[in-house]
Amino acid sequence: MIRVAGLSAGYGDRQVLENIGFDIFPGEILTIVGTSGCGKTTLLKNLIGLAAPARGSIRYWGREITGLDDEALNRLRRKIGVSFQSNALFNSISVAENVALPLRESRAVDQEIIPVISRMKLSLVGLGDTAHLMPDSLSGGMKKRVAFARAVALDPEIVFFDEPSSGLDPVTAAGLDRLIRRLRDLLEITAVVVTHDLASIRAIADRVLMLAEGRIVFLGGLEEADRSADPVVRAFFDRGRERK
């Protein structure tokens, strides 16, 4: 579905990612993990075309996206959904209007059914009765759910979740983990989840891609990660076991 090869990226002279390559397969939940500053967000920004890599290739369904112009990128982005770490909800419009926004802008569906789809997506994340509320009046967990609803508004084939459980209590975070799995199963999407929350990783990941100092230090299943002899991988996953 997505193939990344020889990707190097950074900011100005500072290189954050160095020559990384991996595949994302249809229907899987791939978690991108690592400690703070390891390059997770930079990788995510490159994957969704918000930043351009210095070198390397990113292919969606066989089509190279590096170097695409804005119009072509926007066409591609209609097939992907993104839930941002800060939620990025517009506080000046209601929850339903936030979810309806991509639908209105894409003009892919009839205007009169947009409110129905918007409410449906909110029902899908368990917030059908909040449509008329303003984002300000929602709790942190509810805002995340609205962001999820907006990310899946256009029936994307792949959804990126950036730190979905950050700043939330364990119970709410676990609820969001269940929701990501449910969305994946029900909507048959591919999910890429950027996180450093070990409990979430264990709850949702089909595969784990671990970054350290801009390189991939591990790519595989959870059991493999637990058995890994690599000291960086062990330090990350053992800490999870210690906390348990």
Binding site: F90, N91, S92, A108, V109, D110, E112, I113, V116, I117, R119, M120, K121, S123, L124, G128, D129, A131, H132, P135, D136, A153, D155, L186, E188
Partner: protein, 370 residues
Amino acid sequence: MTKKTGIDSAGGSEPITLRGTLSLSEGRELLETVKERIRAGAKEIQIDLAGLDGIDSPGAATLIQAWRLARQKGGRLRLSGARGKTAAFLELIRESFPPPAPPLRPSRNPLAGLGEKGLVALAEIRAAGRLVVEAVYWSFIAPLEGRGLRWKSLIGEIDEMGFKAIGIVALINFLLGVVVAMLSAAQLRLFGVQILVASLVVIGFARELAALMTGIVVSARSGAAITAELAAMTVFEEVDALKSMGQNVSRFLIAPKFLAIIVCLPLLTAIGFVTGVAGGFALGIFSLGFTFNRWWEQTLEAVTTGDLLQGFIKSLVFAVIIVVVGCHHGLRVKGGPRAIGQATTRAVVQDIFLIIVADLVFASLFYFLA
């Protein structure tokens, strides 16, 4: 031969059968079929979903619309036979079927609304008054009691509000001086007393124009900046963080701005006065043909210490208006980034309005006292 995706409808009371995937185009067709059945007087419409392999959001939305439409017309739409993922999807979105209840709005009595607005205005005035008292205390009294002033912050504010505004204040007043001189020269030429342009310009700038124009420029520049900065700090919880650290917001944030503008605005007004008068000089010497000495003598002869004092007092009052309005709107903001913009706009409009009202009050006062 059956189609892979589509709708079968034999009409009458026979179920409408869906096959394949229900997407937007099939959904539109379904909606039309349901409408036809309703027009034909059907009260109960059955849709058989057993042949559906998949359903996307627009398709599901049209199904919901058909269900609502039937209900609106006093009929009923029954869905049956959904299986697998279609059933799971419909189960999850079942609360979307009834139309959303409109949010309740309390009925409002116009008089109650008016009273409410009055109370809000009173509360705003009280809050602004408290802000003035706190700003005066933390700027002038607390430092005398040994409760320190944030000098570094004060110097930064003076640089921002005062030093960096010199250029624009000087330029605007100079240009206004030229304009005022041109306007009055055209009229006074009729009476052969064009030299009085010098008097008019110097008195106008000393009493009114320098303070007014400088006040408006500083309001648009620094007043807006004060509101935007404090509003952003409020929205992003920096003000709450300060409070939680036991810091006094008035001392930490308002006092440096208050003192800075009290110092800067009269000085900027003085600069505005000099450059405004210079604008008049430029016209008088280069266009009207007067000598420098003649214009200078007329200028000195016309202006009095009282005129200069009027401008100085006004500039102090304008300074208080700008900083109080700016801080008041900045600290009371609620909401997100849009609220920051709204608070800033409101603050600048209110600044300019209050500056002109205050100017009118002073002009009336001095006029009648004189």
